[in-house]
Structure formats: C-alpha cells, structure tokens
C-alpha cells in the first residue's frame, strides 16, 4: 500500500508506544453463533422468496401473458362472429336444410357460455369462436343457396 517501507523515521514515536489489546475471549463463539443464525435465517427466507417469485411468475404467465398475447385473436374471432351473424340475419329465412346448422350453432353457443362460466382460458375459447364462425358461414351459404334456388 505505502510507496516506501514504514520505519521509525516515518512513524511517529507515540504510535510505536501504542498498546495492543486482545478481543474478548467470547467473541469467536459469538461470531460462530451469529454465522449459524444467519445461515439458518437466510436459508428459509431465500426459499420463501424463491417460491414466491416462482409462484408470481407462474400467475403472471397464466393471467397476464396469455391474455395480452391472445386477446387480439379472441377479439377478432368475436368480431368476425358478430359480423357473420348480422350477415346471416339479413338473409331470407333459413330452409329446413339449415335447421341442423342452427342446432349446431346453439350447441356451440352453449359450449361457449359454459366455457365463460368456468373461467376458461383464451386458448380454450378461441376454437369455440372459430367453430361458431364456421357454423355461421355454413348458415349464410345455405341461406344464399336457398335464395338462388327460389329465384
């Protein structure tokens, strides 16, 4: 540390006379006890903190990430469904052939409602919306086909 070696020229004589004291005999046992306490005390909070962090990450992964990632897709499905439904409602009354498609639409609607009731995730809801849209497209095609046949 020092650039030049220490010697009596650089050290004040008073400092050379300073006494040297010993720490208390019980200090080392106290340090060991504190070390052990710290080791035990730290281990558990660390585990708890790690568990809490992992739990928070899982909750965030389930609740936040999928929602933010998949909400646009679900909204698209819903939006498309509303659009298709309006288009279907505007067409002339469905034929008897379309009755089975209407029944299928009701089944899908019931499944969708049940899924929402049990708090289903977006990835469960999305296929149902796609099925509903497919059913609506079938109904629209049937209605258009009937209209052409009548003309």
């Amino acid at each position: 540390m020092r650039e030049q070696p220490l010697n009596n020229d650089t050290m004040h004589p008073v400092l050379a006379e300073l006494p040297e004291f010993e720490p208390g005999a019980d200090l080392w046992p106290r340090i060991l006890a504190a070390h052990e306490r710290k080791r035990r005390g730290v281990r558990h909070p660390r585990r708890i903190a790690a568990f809490a962090a992992a739990a928070a990450a899982i909750v965030a992964a389930i609740l936040i990430v999928p929602r933010t990632a998949e909400v646009p897709k679900l909204s698209d499905g819903q939006r498309e469904s509303q659009s298709l439904e309006r288009e279907w409602q505007a067409l002339p009354s469905a034929s008897a052939r379309a009755a089975s498609d209407v029944a299928r639409l009701h089944v899908i609607d019931t499944a969708l409602q049940a899924a929402y009731d049990r708090g289903a995730r977006a990835d469960e809801l999305q296929p149902l919306w796609q099925q509903r849209n497919q059913a609506l497209r079938g109904l629209i095609m049937s209605a258009r086909s009937d209209a052409v046949t009548r003309i």
């Binding site: 020092r2 070696p5 650089t10 006494p19 010993e22 720490p23 504190a34």
Partner: protein
C-alpha cells in the same frame, strides 16, 4: 533509527496464511476459520479500536468482518495477500461504523486501558500513547492509524474518505503535530471539526 526496511504493515495483518488453511476455510471448514481468526483477530480488533476508541464497537467490527469473510471467502481470488484483503475489509467496516454512529467522543482512555488486558511496553507509556491518540478527532485518528500503522497511501485514504489526497495529508500533518504537542489543539481547528462532523 534502523536501516532495516520494516514490514509494510506494522500490525498483524502482515502475517502470512498458509494455502491449506485458506483452502479449507474456503470450503467452509470451521476449524480453518477459527485458525484464521486466531491469527488475525487481534490485528482487526486493534485497528478498529484505535479508530473507534470503544471496545464494544471494535468487537462489533471484528464480528462483521469475520462474518463477511466466511461468506465471501470462496470469492477471494488471492490477487493480494490474505492479510491485505482482511485489512481492507476491516478498515472499510470501521469507517462505516464511524459514519453510522457519529461517535467522536471516545471513552476515558484510562477506563479503556484499565478494562483491557494488554501486552508490550510499560504501562505508563501505553497510557500516554493511548491518551494522546484518543485526544484526536475520530477522522484524524483514522487517517493517522491507517497511514502510519497500516501503510495506507494518501491516494487510498482519499478513496476511503471520498476526499482529496491533500485533505488527508493536511489532517495527518496536524494530527502528528498534535501528538508532538507542538500545535494547537486539533478540536479547536475549524477544518478538522468540520471533517469530524462530516463523517
């Protein structure tokens, strides 16, 4: 005056530590840690005591240093001798303790001396040297002890205290003057009083 170069540190920090003990301590061996304590505890304690002036506070520093040592020894790379590494930890912990407590008024040196087992020179000389040291403000003591006894350079002191090199040079000069009895009492000097209050 001697022509023989003295060890860089006059305290027990200059003692060497054998590699086997160090490796055992690194692996958490309690006996090896105890051996390190026996070798360096007195040096740690005296460095802290000479600056803090209180036995309990110095023991707290020793405890903190050895707890930290046991927790960080695995990361000790051996770039510097072990004693130097431990001395830095002790100096830092002591200065932190000084800053935290804002304690500058030392105990009565006679009481401190009487309560402690000591070794070395004659008792009368020890009381005189100790009394003189304790008359200095805490920061002046720190500069004096670290520079004169532990071999800190002014550059290192400036980093430790967050001040310029000329600042620690000034404090050291005044402290040495005070010890010689040739100067005005340091506590009366505005600059050092301000230094102390800044700790």
């Amino acid at each position: 005056m001697t022509s023989q170069p003295a060890p860089r540190s006059r305290s027990g920090f200059g003692q060497e530590l054998d590699r086997i003990t160090l490796e055992r301590a690194r692996r958490g061996d309690a006996d090896a840690c105890a051996a390190i304590y026996r070798r360096y505890a007195t040096a740690c304690f005296n460095l802290a005591l000479r600056i803090l002036g209180e036995r309990a506070a110095a023991e707290d520093v020793v405890q903190e240093v050895f707890l930290k040592m046991m927790n960080t020894l695995s990361g000790f790379r051996g770039d510097a001798p072990f004693g130097v590494w431990l001395k830095r930890m002790t100096a830092n912990a002591t200065i932190d303790a000084l800053r935290a407590t804002q304690r500058f008024a030392a105990e009565d040196p006679e009481t401190v001396f009487a309560s402690m087992a000591s070794r070395g020179a004659e008792a009368d000389q020890r009381v005189d040297a100790w009394s003189l040291l304790m008359r200095l403000p805490a920061r002046a003591r720190a500069v004096l002890v670290l520079h004169e006894l532990e071999g800190y350079t002014h550059k290192e002191l400036s980093e430790l205290f967050g001040q310029s090199e000329s600042y620690s040079k000034s404090i050291l000069a005044r402290a040495l003057k005070k010890l010689s009895g040739a100067g005005e009492p340091i506590k009366a000097e505005g600059e050092l009083a301000t230094c102390a209050s800044n700790l």
